[in-house]
């Protein structure tokens, strides 16, 4: 009796959850579907869902028009580079905050987070002038640095919360055994924190991948990532829903696939370690 009730509940739950899940996913699904339609089918009334002539034409038009691979590669370098650089700088900081906390630790953490609230537009001009002076305009290095700085507070905070959960006794034991500070961080702490670090990396790659203000304004041709690629397909003359969808799909597909394959890490990453 009880069994059949739970079975029944499970069916209802499953149906409800799938319905909600599909609803949330629908805009993406619709974009992907539209990318395989012709322009006429994309705006047909009533809309068609699956029964249309699937075509790859939009993708070939987009590939022909833009050097997709270069945009993609720039995105990979910029998102990956800024995250790795950020991690390298953040690990020592997070370590010291977690294991040698002082009265100010919390203040410093919150201050770091508050630097993220500065409106980017307001400082575009000053930053632009600085980057011209340094000859960094339209270079991937510039974007790696900027995005690293933008995401550093989040990286430090995430790592801090992970490190805090590592029991201090282990470190003390290592210290007793004569491990130097460097060894301690490198051989004891880091391996234990790998899952946390992995999550941090993932989340920040996503944030960097999707950053659309600096990546657009500090690049021209050489370092432009996928955000600039999209800017060349939004609102051209005429409504080209199918081509826009194809370009959109191409811009989000790599990160979507990465996210899906690593969703376990990501899920724990998204919790910022603040909840168990």
């Amino acid at each position: 009796m009880a069994r059949s009730v739970t079975q029944q509940r499970k069916i209802i739950n499953t149906a409800a959850a799938w319905a909600v899940g599909l609803l949330i996913f629908f805009p993406i699904l619709w974009t992907i579907l539209t990318s395989f339609k012709t322009e006429a089918q994309a705006i047909s009334d009533p809309p068609v869902f699956l029964a249309f002539d699937w075509t790859l034409e939009n993708y070939s038009v987009v590939m022909e028009r833009s050097n997709y691979m270069r945009f993609l590669w720039n995105s990979v370098i910029i998102a990956g580079g800024s995250t790795l650089l950020g991690i390298l700088i953040a690990i020592p900081a997070a370590w010291s905050m977690a294991f040698v906390p002082s009265k100010r630790t919390k203040d410093i953490l919150l201050w770091m987070l508050s630097t993220k609230m500065l409106p980017a537009v307001g400082v575009l001009y000053p930053i632009y002038l600085i980057f011209i002076k340094m000859g960094l305009l339209d270079t991937r290095i510039a974007l790696v640095i900027v995005l690293m700085l933008i995401n550093l507070p989040i990286i430090v905070w995430m790592l801090y919360t992970y490190f805090k959960e590592i029991p201090g006794e282990i470190l003390e034991a290592a210290r007793m055994d004569g491990a130097s500070l460097r060894d301690e961080v490198l051989y004891v702490l880091t391996p234990m924190a790998i899952p946390g670090i992995a999550s941090t990396i993932l989340l920040n790659v996503i944030l960097a991948w999707n950053e659309a203000f600096w990546t657009l304004n500090l690049t021209a041709a050489k370092a432009a990532p996928l955000t600039a690629f999209i800017a060349s397909y939004s609102s051209p003359e005429g409504l080209f829903y199918a081509k826009l969808s194809a370009a959109s799909t191409m811009a989000i597909a790599p990160i979507l696939i990465l996210g899906w394959f690593s969703q376990k890490q990501l899920v724990s990453g998204l919790t910022f370690g603040a909840v168990k």
Partner: protein
């Protein structure tokens, strides 16, 4: 090899380098309009002829403006050629930011550029940007719907006629809207249309002392007329419709009339994209009998920012892209209806082009716009649908938002005008007028 021969060889190399053109890679910022995308597709022809490679930065119009303006005012040097319009050219040239184009070779035939275009892209008589294509605005209308309404479109209609026809054609149950006009906020969107329309109603942006004129009766007439007409005969959501949205509506057969850029003529008559390709007629933009019509004048042009290291190669590109040969190249590949219009006189003398249905009306529209004398009453500014002062874009964007929300019914036309007057006065004071 002795030192001497090595030196000789080195000298020979430098001599060669300076005489023969060095193959360069130039970076061009451009807008993602159809004609520019076609140009990108034909870049190989340029590379084959000159050896220079081209890197394209193609951006949506608003992003493009933001990018190139930041770059040129900060002297960033990211681009060797920028795609700009009639609004930017005189302002930037005045600041000394552009390389003058007065030394183009004879075979380029600079005198062939339409005088209106050349005038709008010059500063103090010197050409600073070469028109890639030029446009005015005109009426595009559905011949079948006009006939069904029992009316006949004259070549040069009045606004009263247009309004009457629009109301007669409207059949909202069947999603036929008599008139589609721009409503989306922006100085290049609804304000381009409304400023040009205001000219026909005898309104102006500023008087000769740079005092904003939105409190005038002429502006009130303009805006009220426009909003009433759109409420009666316009499509839903008109306050978010710009060029693209209206183009799409017209191509789907949902608009009776559409007053917009002349370049749209080739899109609405293209049977691949348009369901009404064979039912489109053209007429001059309407007037109210005061002597000015509601058509604007615009050109997308290529300009070289001062300070680029690759000036020579950039000039070669401009000569290629805005030449008569380029027009022929496009005609060969895509047909005469798809060549970039509105830039050169010779195009309109070409027998092949005369067969294009909208060619003559486009030329007439362009010729009837006068940027130096745009309004009924005298004004201190140059420009038909804009005033060529640096503050204009910012002000007109905000005014455009007020007008757009009046169209959406969130405020009355007179409230919008009062706000427009206040904010324009404010901004002009801030700029020190």
């Amino acid at each position: 090899m002795s030192l001497k021969t090595a030196l000789c060889a080195a000298t020979a190399l430098t001599v060669m380098g300076t005489t023969a053109a060095i193959a360069e890679t130039i970076t061009i910022a451009t807008v993602n309009n159809g004609d520019m995308i076609r140009m990108q597709g034909l870049t190989d022809d340029f590379t084959a002829k000159t050896g220079h490679e081209v890197e394209w930065v193609t951006l949506e119009e608003n992003v493009l403006r933001q990018r190139v303006t930041t770059d040129i005012s900060a002297k960033g040097g990211s681009f060797d050629i920028m795609t700009i319009g009639m609004y930017e050219t005189p302002i930037w040239a005045k600041n000394g930011w552009l390389v003058s184009l007065d030394d183009l070779p004879a075979e380029y035939d600079v005198d062939d550029i339409l005088p209106a275009m050349r005038g709008g892209l010059s500063y103090e008589g010197t050409l600073y940007a070469a028109p890639f294509y030029g446009e005015s605005s005109m009426i595009m209308y559905r011949t079948d719907l006009m006939e069904a309404a029992g009316m006949e479109m004259p070549d040069a209609p009045t606004w009263d006629f247009v309004a009457e026809a629009a109301r007669a054609m409207t059949d909202k149950d069947n999603e036929i809207y008599g008139i589609c006009l721009r409503g989306k906020a922006g100085w290049g969107e609804n304000m381009a249309f409304l400023t040009a329309t205001a000219n026909a109603f005898g309104a102006r942006w500023f008087d000769e002392d740079w005092k904003p004129q939105f409190d005038s009766e002429a502006w009130s007439n303009t805006l009220n007329f426009y909003i009433d007409l759109m409420n009666d005969a316009g499509p839903p959501g008109a306050s978010n419709n710009g060029f693209n949205e209206n183009l799409s509506l017209f191509q789907q057969g949902k608009c009776g009339m559409w007053i917009d850029a002349t370049v749209a003529a080739s899109f609405v008559t293209n049977p691949n994209d348009s369901t009404v390709a064979d039912k489109v007629g053209f007429a001059l933009a309407p007037d109210t009998g005061l002597g000015k019509r509601s058509n604007w004048l615009w050109a997308w042009a290529l300009a070289i920012p001062a300070g680029t290291q690759k000036e020579a190669a950039a000039k070669e590109f401009i000569q290629w892209a805005t030449s008569k040969e380029y027009i022929e190249l496009v005609a060969e590949n895509e047909g005469w209806a798809n060549v970039p219009p509105g830039a050169r006189t010779s195009l309109y003398e070409n027998e092949n082009y005369k067969e294009v249905p909208f060619a003559q009306m486009t030329l007439d529209s362009i010729l009837s716009a006068d940027p130096n004398n745009p309004t009924v009453d005298p004004v201190p500014y140059v420009g038909v649908q804009f005033a060529a002062i640096p503050e204009f874009a910012g002000i007109a964007n905000q005014v455009g938002q007020e007008f757009s929300s009046a169209l959406a019914g969130q405020q009355t036309a007179d409230e919008a005008l009062a706000k427009a007057q206040a904010l324009t006065t404010d901004e002009m004071e801030a700029a020190g007028y």
